[in-house]
Symmetry: C2
Subunit: 343 residues, 2 copies
């Protein structure tokens, strides 16, 4: 097969993105930054932990929307800034949202943000309180004014992930319908919207399960899908259950480029699983939760930002050619993932 | 207060609808048909039970969409016909749906249908299998061709109830987000759609709870809301938990006519609760589950069709003036039901 490339919405060059070469002798398709975690405990005044957060390239440097827990342990969102994508300066105050009428609007809680640019607008998608866990969305063009939009879906739902461009002229969002608690089940669905107000044509994308056990309890979308010559590359989290609780690993899947509710390839293996101290130990042990990527079309490099143990932010690396080929080589078909997902 | 009337979408005269006067000395605002259940066990060839079903006036007589369980105990939908609304002839075959391209489409299961006319079209709303319990919808104009439409919402959801006219130029549907099982929680939400394809502007309508216990576990919409001079009258089910399982009663609420996510009045009392043998005993004991009404604007009469014990169909009566005044007189404010329901 010819070399897999970043194309379309992902054909963007970010030559100054974080990068380290794969260590000699390392076998797996994703390798960790050698000075992880890049955000440690108590990273700013009054902030206990930052994790499960999103970053983007912006005006020559890097910007992020961070899941911040202060000493109240109620999550909220803050901006952060970085020159190199590794050393982050976190704002002293939460992001202040307004509603579409311009009135102050602050979510009661906000966690696990994604940050996705579609055309000239950045969208923040997070888990919000809408009489239960639901998907909250807001938009900004300048990271100064943040406009909260209508919740796209009814509760209960988490892990809303927007595609980085319209597909067939509609916005497309992944989500993971759930219950109101710790949710012992969950598949990834997809919905489309002509206007970011009304959503429909819901499709089932992929199911928990497979022959392995690492994604046997539930799965959920991760960073925004990455457009490649083989389809949409998506990192996601897969969860297994143990006698001492859940374990979150990272998986990778390739979705059809025009009908992204169809799975083309899905690795039967996790591509990264908790094994370092900052992934195994923390506020919630054994959680590895990818939320964002940076990538460079010229080199095919990808940097994955992930939450570790609900306490830290880690970075890991791969290239589009290496990870896509790995997913193809380790593909397993699960349930009716290959179908359109419409019953 | 002046007499409460049926208006707008509910200003329809059905002089031949079922009716019995309130028995002398009976105190409560809703009274049962004296020959309940109107649909008994084994009501048609190969049919074990019919319950939780919907009826409508059609071409001078009555038509229904019934939840049918045959000896496989997998629910499906069948049409039924009646001259008087009480004696029903059930079709021998399930309703055959087609999709929007005209291809055969049959839900894997279908239960708890509602049947609502908006303008010149009848909509059937039921609980369908969409990788879990979800709201299915179909439309018909002639009860011969049934066109299955896009599922309005992601799973998991039940008790989809359509308003009988557009409000502010959009379709409006109630639903009760749930989990994938017997759901030990649940409030009623509302969503709107300009086109019956894409849905949004979701709002919380009303919460389980209140000072009484009969609706302490969960609630769910019932028949299509009825337009009155005091607002939208809606019958719903409220569920309480006991050491031997759930008990389903009927409640009544008045929603704001233009902003129906706002509760104007909500009775603190159930308005009907299982006490007759056909409500207490059956496939699922102690279930009283309203799904449809017939009403006559001239007289203000209302007939409520309800499932009893997941085994029978019962009918009960009230008048719009009596029930609306009862709800106003027994009103309690619960949570932020009176608000717009937007967080």
């Amino acid at each position: 097969m010819s070399e897999v490339k970043l194309v379309g919405a992902s054909a963007i060059n970010i030559p100054n993105m974080p990068w380290q070469e794969k260590p000699a002798g390392y076998e797996n398709p994703i390798w960790r930054h050698n000075d992880n975690p890049v955000i440690k405990r108590n990273p700013a005044k009054g902030v206990a932990r930052i994790f499960n957060s999103a970053v983007a390239a912006y005006e020559g440097s890097f910007i992020g929307v961070f899941r911040v827990e202060d000493n109240t342990t109620r999550p909220h969102l803050r901006m952060g800034h970085s020159v190199d994508g590794l050393d982050w300066k976190i704002d002293d105050e939460p992001i202040r949202f307004i509603d579409e009428e311009g009135n102050p609007y602050q979510p009661r809680y906000a966690y696990d943000p994604r940050l996705v640019k579609v055309e000239d607008t950045f969208y923040i998608i997070w888990c919000t309180d809408f009489y239960g866990a639901a998907i909250g969305v807001a938009k900004t063009k300048d990271f100064k004014t943040f406009i909260s939009l209508e919740n796209p879906f009814l509760p209960f739902n988490r892990n809303g992930v927007l595609f980085p461009r319209k597909i067939n002229n509609t916005f497309v969002m992944l989500s993971r319908p759930s219950d109101s608690g710790h949710t012992p089940f969950g598949d990834v669905f997809l919905s489309e919207s002509p206007d970011f107000v009304y959503w429909g044509k819901h499709r089932h994308v992929m199911t928990k399960g497979g022959q392995g056990w690492w994604q046997s309890v539930k799965i959920g979308g991760g960073p925004a899908p990455i457009e490649t010559t083989e389809g949409w590359l998506m990192f996601y989290h897969g969860v297994t259950g143990t006698c001492n609780g859940l374990v979150y690993s990272m998986g990778a899947v390739i979705l059809d480029i025009n009908e992204p509710s169809k799975v083309k390839y899905r690795s039967k293996n996790f591509v990264l699983t908790p094994e370092e101290w900052y992934e195994e130990r923390g506020f919630v042990n054994n959680v590895l939760f990818p939320c964002a990527t940076l990538h460079d079309a010229e080199t095919g490099r990808i940097a994955i930002y992930y939450g570790a143990a609900d306490t830290y932010v880690g970075v890991a690396y791969t290239t589009v050619n290496e990870i896509v080929n790995y997913v193809i080589e380790t593909h397993e078909e699960v349930g009716d993932d290959a179908g359109l997902g419409k019953i």
